[in-house]
Symmetry: C2
Subunit: 476 residues, 2 copies
Amino acid sequence: MEKLLKEITPKSQDYSQWYTDVIKKADLVDYAPIKGFMVMKPYSYRIWEFIQAAMDRRFRETGHENAYFPLLIPEHLLIKEAEHVEGFSAEVAWVTMGGDEVLAERLAIRPTSETIIGAMYAQWIQSYRDLPVLINQWANVLRWEKATRPFLRTTEFLWQEGHTVHRSAEEAEAETLQQLGIYREILEDLLGVPVIAGVKSAGERFAGAVQTYTLEALMGDGKALQSATSHFLGQNFAKAFDIQYLDEDGVLKFGWTTSWGSTTRMIGALIMVHGDDKGLRLPPRVAPIQIVVVPIGRGADRDRVTDWARDLVNKLSGEFRIKLDDRNEFTPGYKFNDWEMRGVPLRIEIGPRDLAQKQITVARRDTGEKIVIAENMVSETLSQLLEDVQRTLFEQAVEYRASHTFSVENYQEMAHHNHRGFFLGDWCGQETCADRLKQETSVTIRCLPLGADIAGTGCIVCGQPGQHRALFARAY
Amino acid sequence: MEKLLKEITPKSQDYSQWYTDVIKKADLVDYAPIKGFMVMKPYSYRIWEFIQAAMDRRFRETGHENAYFPLLIPEHLLIKEAEHVEGFSAEVAWVTMGGDEVLAERLAIRPTSETIIGAMYAQWIQSYRDLPVLINQWANVLRWEKATRPFLRTTEFLWQEGHTVHRSAEEAEAETLQQLGIYREILEDLLGVPVIAGVKSAGERFAGAVQTYTLEALMGDGKALQSATSHFLGQNFAKAFDIQYLDEDGVLKFGWTTSWGSTTRMIGALIMVHGDDKGLRLPPRVAPIQIVVVPIGRGADRDRVTDWARDLVNKLSGEFRIKLDDRNEFTPGYKFNDWEMRGVPLRIEIGPRDLAQKQITVARRDTGEKIVIAENMVSETLSQLLEDVQRTLFEQAVEYRASHTFSVENYQEMAHHNHRGFFLGDWCGQETCADRLKQETSVTIRCLPLGADIAGTGCIVCGQPGQHRALFARAY
């Protein structure tokens, strides 16, 4: 059993297999008996709950309310916005029977809810006094995907989707960026995942959007992960669904809408950004267990140590998510591996000698460092250590990204890095160049980073004058 | 506009229409553009969030963890437990297409998840050390219903479903009853809805269960609402899905399973138990707005009063869910009606005279009573009043139920009460009597109340010796 546990493929050997090993052995997910679906086990669902709580609080503080809209969308609604249906129709699961009856109209399981929500907003909004509408929904959605991986791309996934309506384009754009800012806080401050904020090129835009903003993170294998998006929809959906309001000046006007979403995919980012060859490394703010206590010793010693450890856990459990591992059937060595695999930020070891000297030994999951703490300093020191692990994981990720980000003047330079990493280069703005790059190298434009200026070295593909500074990478 | 608002049908005139009026005018729900589906607007979704938070905390305190299982269930899994499929197959929505492809096997949208969860548990459980498994899921489910009403019976609804596995029948039965106890706390202490706990007769049992426990509440029209259920599943699902564990004695044994669920239907109970001809009456513990403040006055007076009211709201907003209604476009009278319709427990009125005398006037939604409070006593008095409204609503509901509960010796007596109310009577235990009762009167056996003894007056239908004391009622 001990041997089995250690057997995860090293990252350097096969990153994809490493990921698969970690998510299974850290007890995050299991594969469901339907292709493309996963089961979120309690350990990963708890992480999702922490993300939800932190995000939901920020949504509420910025004036948003939660609501719930139907899972199923009649086909005639789904196809009202032309670009939108083109983007999603190939990915829709269709309900065609209810009980024994064949339905007159097929019903889509929501791939996203702009259409059904738009239809409701059209009824709810009459006057400028009804605006802005600021609603969020926590829900499951389905997209019939061909190639799936737990967290990163699954047929069903959990997410939140915000849908808002405003009186002006400016207000709607401000909302779009505000929500992107919330996602950045969640990813960086909570999950320790550094991101680059940018706008999507036309070819990568959300179907039906005027502008899509994105946060792009660099994974441990040098591939990018789109980690959250926020869309300024202009009046496209307002016109398709007839979302109009009578303005103060007595004129009937179309609203300006936004939508923004983030998903359980963020857990995938967390795993890939922080994980190592021993398994997960969880930032303390989202770790279901922040500290594990392992008593060490034999016979009567062990009992004494365990009693003392139990008292310690009881004393600290109001302050930390702390767990005593008093399983008799496993050795301390097995337990160390087990909790390292699950990414618990701090491990406390207590042996007879620690007991005698009124101290505990703490091992950090992020650095491997061991620290001895005197009994009277335990609570403060553990707090500081957790803060420090949180910060260190983020800093390590920032450093990794810095050392894997390259400015390029032409796309051939990417080959020196095996097309792995973030590449910054000028782009002429032509989709033909983006297409050629993708075909030849599988590299795509991840975003046009906010505030970045062209270097003036010409489009990395065609050499023509650059219109935008772009972030290029292979992507999940 | 003022006239429109007041126009809800009186309960006594048409209860069903009253319900429909209230849920729309109190801004709880809207009908979705698909038959049988509703949209939960922010005002009702917030109530659901309070229910979720209170319930989730209790689940966690009793050792349960949340997880998430797939929305879709392959047909071959759904039909594994014979009674279960018989109970649900007519109500299932089927996905038959993914993208442009016709699926080889149709997929059911979960009507409940015993089958898919059972299939996973069979893989997860190996040894007695893996037991008990105590998992809950917050999710949406679909049942293809013919006649629907918002909250009470909709095609899609939100719920939680707990699924546990145990080493012994005793432990599983204890779990079933413990969870029923949690539901009772939520319904009575949080929602102020008194319930009768009992066991379902065989004819009313959950499909596949050995024993179904239920909580039955009496609505304002004398009909019963099944408000939550908890099922002891014996080894039925363990055998169908091969959930086995190696026990300490080295013998491979089947687990004992339970499931238990509660839904957004509880919001329907809340509305019908407490609502009156002015609209909703919300118990303070789940009221999205506990206190509304309406400034009264004209011109400069109004401005002074509004400023003072705003300060008050800011001062109290850490303690209460309190809202200032400073809308200029409505009269105080309109606002009073509006917040009464939405069931806000306390309304504070502040006029120039109140300001001069350093006092506020509070109107209770439950009793209509008005109380004048000195400025320095505001916070304590509001706390007490909210507690008192919470208690009063529950007590009124208990009184209503007491005055509408009747002991009967034969079922003809029910006609004296138009078959409305709770009827307690002896039952011989034969399903033929239950069927006859239902056919002739639409009255059904709601449950066999826990701890109730037969009166010895004979079965209310056939007159044969009674086997059980039963609770009879027409039901939603």
